[in-house]
């Protein structure tokens, strides 16, 4: 299949707010900066944050792509449904989630799988997901080359969910080496030491991302990846390392010219979206 040429990185977690979207964005930006053709797919269909965090507005979405694919498979071109993010000479594609919650509810898992398999032109496909074992997420995990499985050690219930999630992935027979355990918000004086978390999981962290709230807040406020909004942050450096790991290159810590930042604008949103109850394919629960 065409799509198999691309490397698919599934950014997944089993506790919400563990930094999936921030990571997916900075992975995509880092990979693009390294010269790879990269596409970031927002699979948080109902409440996706990618467009908001990057301050983008797009007119076409996954819902349009799905409709087009179902209309005429032969003439479907994924390029027609992608938005382009560009900043400081770095650019990558983004597939935005449906605008309306009702459309999110109608997304079909097979259609998404087909759409992603049509992305063979990209070197890397980064999937930003939700913190649940849904039918959609499982199908995406199946398709992915690696699972960037994120967790945080600063809240005990999150550690519990990390453990439960990891055990479940193994029980679902995802190969151990496909699962890259990534700790986010790592702090030396964390409530729970990362080594204890490793012992609990019975596996080592693939990577540990430090906490830097200021950098992340600034990045979101500016709508730019960390390399442009907080180039010197240890978190930014840590993302370079993570990109290096996924590309099998060692990337020297670097400094990207900080872009001229226009006076902060209020990001506004004009939504008059209406939601009707519909049959949900993508959000269906796990087959046990």
């Amino acid at each position: 299949m065409e799509g198999r040429r691309s490397i698919v990185i599934a950014v997944f977690s089993t506790s919400a707010g563990s930094g999936k979207t921030v990571t997916a964005i900075n992975l995509a930006a880092g990979l693009a900066k390294e010269g790879y053709q990269t596409c970031l797919v927002d699979l948080d269909l109902q409440f996706g944050d990618v467009m908001g965090y990057l301050d983008m507005v797009g007119d076409v979405t996954l819902a349009d792509a799905q409709a087009a694919l179902m209309r005429d498979e032969a003439s479907f071109r994924i390029e027609d449904y992608l938005a382009e993010y560009s900043c400081g000479g770095v650019s990558f594609s983004v597939l935005p989630p449906p605008k309306e919650i009702n459309d999110a509810y109608l997304v079909d898992v097979d259609a998404v799988a087909e759409i992603i398999s049509r992305m063979g032109g990209f070197n890397f496909i980064v999937l930003d997901m939700t913190a649940v074992f849904s039918t959609l997420n499982l199908a995406m995990l199946d398709m992915s080359t690696v699972i960037n499985f994120m967790g945080r050690s600063d809240f005990l219930p999150s550690v519990k969910n990390y453990k439960v999630g990891y055990d479940t992935l193994l029980r679902f027979e995802y190969e151990e080496r496909k699962i890259c355990l990534v700790e986010n918000r790592a702090e030396e004086n964390d409530l729970i030491n990362y080594r204890d978390v490793e012992r609990l999981l019975g596996a080592k962290f693939y990577h540990r991302l430090p906490v830097d709230s200021q950098a992340v807040t600034r990045s979101i406020r500016m709508g730019r990846p960390l390399m442009f909004s907080a180039p010197l942050s240890p978190l930014t450096q840590s993302y370079w390392q993570l990109v290096g790991r996924y590309t099998n290159r060692s990337i020297a810590p670097r400094q990207v010219q900080e872009q001229e930042v226009p006076a902060e604008e209020e990001k506004h949103s004009g939504f008059s979206w209406f939601f009707k109850r519909g049959k949900n394919h993508a959000e269906g629960q796990v087959k046990g």
């Binding site: 089993t14 649940v132 809240f155 219930p157 439960v164 409530l191 949103s269 959000e283 629960q285 087959k287």
Partner: protein, 368 residues
């Protein structure tokens, strides 16, 4: 205490059967039996009864129940039904009775029912409140847990908190309990249960709060059907005056069905990246449809840095409608929930708790 009981049962086979059980027990003094509810209503006063067992499958019995309760304000009332019917059970409570039991029964079933229904609280309809959040990590479970504790403390009535965040629910962890049973089992068994047997599926955490925990494995979530879970919630209404349901994040078959069923939906989002107000705004579209026909919808924002009226106004401007409450960011509350010390260490004077308390006061007073 000895019960002077009146038995009203329209079925001529069932009546002697039930009467026999009551006569055989020294705790009960069967004062009179009736086939006809109207006759019972007219004649019972001469027996000075303190307990009525009334067949509520009969439309007449159900209809006259409020009159019975009016005439005999000091007696206890139990509705009797052949199979558990949620609708009827709710009407029985609404009328001011203790609750209902399923026929046939033994006298100790009556005593057990009186005990658990007595503990429930006022003989008033159950408040069912669903806690919804667009995304996870929103302070939803924290709010539901603190509200459960404060409702129980302030009202003196009993409160249940059901963890319907079926894959990764944290309710048991917040209270540091390991319940014997969980919501998957309760939903599976519900059609074989009655309130007395359902009670065992709740774990008493103390201070008037009971919790029903989530499943051990996330894939078990799939075994729960929304309509069965609603049956659990409805039956729980016979045991608890307040039934709180912690929903999974976002819209899915479970959250939709339960939010639609509940009389009160509390929407909560934690202010963090700045996207949350937009997410809540989108969620409101769904809830507004229900708002139109009498459901109570309360949007709240948690994790607010400067909890001032001006800040509230600012959020409301972006949100485009009024916000019920803003809850302050409080690292202390995270520490307490994260380590399961909710029951032991919740300080009443903390701004977060005071804000929740305000709302709880309004709920109890019937103003919300």
């Amino acid at each position: 205490m000895k019960y002077r009981a009146i038995l009203v049962e329209r079925d001529s086979v069932m009546l002697p059967h039930l009467a026999g059980a009551l006569k055989a027990d020294a705790d009960f003094d069967l004062a009179a039996t009736y086939h006809d509810a109207e006759q019972a209503l007219g004649q019972s006063s001469v027996f000075r009864p303190n307990l009525f067992l009334i067949d509520v499958d009969s439309p007449k019995g159900l209809k006259l129940l409020p009159d019975f309760i009016d005439f005999f304000p000091n007696a206890d009332f139990l509705g009797m039904m052949e199979h558990w019917k949620a609708d009827t059970a709710e009407k029985v409570i609404q009328a001011g009775a203790l609750g209902s039991i399923v026929k046939p029964f033994r006298t100790r079933d009556i005593l057990k029912a009186m005990e658990i229904y007595g503990r429930r609280g006022q003989k008033k309809p159950t408040r069912t409140m669903a806690f919804f959040s667009p995304k996870g990590h929103s302070g939803r479970t924290t709010l539901a847990s603190v509200m459960a504790l404060e409702l129980a403390r302030k009202s003196g009535e009993s409160v249940a908190l059901i963890d319907a965040d079926l894959q990764f629910g944290d309710v048991s962890m917040f209270f540091d309990v390991v319940p014997q049973h969980n919501v998957v089992e309760a939903s599976h068994d519900i059609r074989l249960l009655n309130p007395a047997t359902l009670e065992a599926y709740f774990h008493p955490v103390g201070q008037g709060v009971w919790v029903m925990g989530g499943p051990v494995r996330p894939e078990h979530a799939e075994l729960v059907e929304a309509d069965r879970l609603i049956e659990v919630v409805r039956m729980a209404g016979s045991l608890f005056r307040y039934v709180l349901v912690d929903l999974p994040a976002g819209f899915n078959p479970i959250s939709l069905a339960l939010a639609e069923f509940a009389d009160t939906d509390i929407l909560v989002s934690m202010i963090n990246s700045g996207q949350e107000v937009r997410h809540m705004k989108r969620s409101m579209k769904m809830f507004q449809m229900w708002d139109a026909y009498g459901k109570k919808i309360y949007p709240l924002f948690s994790g607010v840095k400067r909890c001032t009226p001006e800040q509230k106004k600012k959020i409301e401007e972006e949100f485009g409608r009024s916000v019920t409450k803003i809850l302050p960011e409080e690292s202390h509350i995270t520490a307490i929930t994260g380590s399961g010390r909710l029951l032991k260490d919740l300080p009443e004077d903390m701004p977060y708790v005071r804000a929740v308390d305000d709302m709880v006061g309004e709920i109890i007073a019937g103003r919300r």
